[in-house]
Symmetry: C2
Amino acid sequence: MPGIKEVAKQANVSIATVSRVLSKPETVAKETIKKVLAVIEDLNYQPNAAARQLRMSETTTILVVVPDITNTFFSNVLRGIEFVALENGYQVLLGDADNNAEREKGYLSILRQKKAAGMILLTAGIEAETVEEIASEYPVVLACEYLEGVNVPTVSIDNVSSARKATEYLINLGHKKIGFISGPMNSVLGRDRMKGFYQAMAQYNLKVEPDLVQEGNFSYKSGLDMMHKLLAYSHPPTAVFAANDEMAFGAINAIEQKGLTVPNDISVIGFDDIQFSSIFKPALTTISQPTFDIGTKAMELLIGLMTKQEMEKTQYILENKLVLRDSCYKCSR
Amino acid sequence: MPGIKEVAKQANVSIATVSRVLSKPETVAKETIKKVLAVIEDLNYQPNAAARQLRMSETTTILVVVPDITNTFFSNVLRGIEFVALENGYQVLLGDADNNAEREKGYLSILRQKKAAGMILLTAGIEAETVEEIASEYPVVLACEYLEGVNVPTVSIDNVSSARKATEYLINLGHKKIGFISGPMNSVLGRDRMKGFYQAMAQYNLKVEPDLVQEGNFSYKSGLDMMHKLLAYSHPPTAVFAANDEMAFGAINAIEQKGLTVPNDISVIGFDDIQFSSIFKPALTTISQPTFDIGTKAMELLIGLMTKQEMEKTQYILENKLVLRDSCYKCSR
DNA sequence: ACTCAAAATGAATACGTTTACAATGCGGTT
DNA sequence: AACCGCATTGTAAACGTATTCATTTTGAGT
């Protein structure tokens, strides 16, 4: 409630001095600083953010757009972002796109209104060119997804090679008939992981049967449904690669509903290594992403952009690893 | 980039009319509106949020403080909040307290700087009196937790009676030696749920053995550890009530690690009904909270406070229900 | 054609800061 | 004594918008 001029009056100085005490203390006499600080403390004065922002034309808020806040994978990245944001005096504005490209687009106005100084996109439901256009005007970094040919600072893992790695693991276990439950084809993530699957199969001269590739939408239910579809074929796969963990859980439960067991009858591998993957039974073999690190790195990158620092590098591919647990086993057939 | 005066110049009107076109269109001629709107469209003009906020001394941002963004229980509430926030033109600023009261306190300055018009607390790590003090100065609503004797608008479930209900269910199944894995005693949630447990036991004249009550911290690992402790006693319980689902998972996995099965050897009931509870095996019997609704209701309440509407009611206790799944069974001993 | 109320517009101010610039005071140098 | 440089402080102007008040335009009624 009290403004800077109230402080100035009580401290018997000009408002300029008060302002300086807060932002450039080295230019004001120690004696005065002490006096002013005392009044500030006394009145519990806090500078008005809007006024400061207007004057300086810069804000300390940034926007993070998440496809689904409920997914622990994303919320972990978010945690990383918030962590370094806070450390550097930034606040994060949350935009839950709810898997809806239109809603995602709506958040862009926040940048235009200068309510946020920059943005981190945890997904790209919107078209690549729109992203590039926005990025040319405002500080933007892409996390989790790598957009081919788009020159926007990015931090992610290599989804293609990771998916290849997962598939190879299954192949090396002796599996030949391998099913794939993909993510939605309209997402980069979905397409990249599928690409990796095909690469691995081709590399080992294994034929991928179109019937054994089903498109899910990253949800538990789609994993369950698609697995049931796969099980209905005359020659079901001996191993299944699900493009994320939640779908893998669905697949496993579908298999068990049919009276079969994982990994003895069918092996299942997932992707992401969310929290529950190690709690689930059987514990899920999966690709682990450094979610927290993706978040911190993305935020560091964004800070670099916003403060116009010279950047040695703007594309980061973080390491991921295959974590071996109990849901895969050697092929017995 | 273009300001209101650029629009004014190109439309050949004063900045006042441009402003009016945006905020009070009914006071300006249709002809002019069309002209101005065209220029706005053309220049892709967006009003500067900081300037507007400074002039009107009100912002459309609200702050939500979450104890742990990673917990799907809270992220679901958050989703509800964001949903109605967006619908009403508000943005939500995220504060992840990371289960740290100090960090939680730090977010209060955001209110003082007027960066946010109000706040929703999804937890109360800070003391009740601090909350009340803040609430007397700014619009604040409490969600998820009910603070005894604190007159702050609240939406939650009745944790005490729900915990009682869960315990009663176990008792009616014939269990007498019932263990309890509590939440942390420094949280209201933890204390309330324990209170319910004791009430039910007392009501049925069952003795609660101090050894069978263990304090966890709502994490999977603490559930696992505490259950191992319970199993180590000479007369382990035949049923266990875990104060949240994650600890229940830990308990179940601990039981199975000992070669026992749930629910045949020991029944386990949880609390919250997070997403994973129906996926887990055995599917978890638990108390289901209307998380999304808690979020929407809390945000509606906050909007009411911020717009100074007359409120018929400021304390909401939402319904919860016991969802029966596969982790509990009749006592065989 | 003239009047007058109502409708539409413009000029000017305030919101609470930061900061460029000017003003002041002080000690030391010539 | 006059002057200079430096440290400290104050004055005033901006930032982009909303709004009060005054002014102009419009249109209906005579």
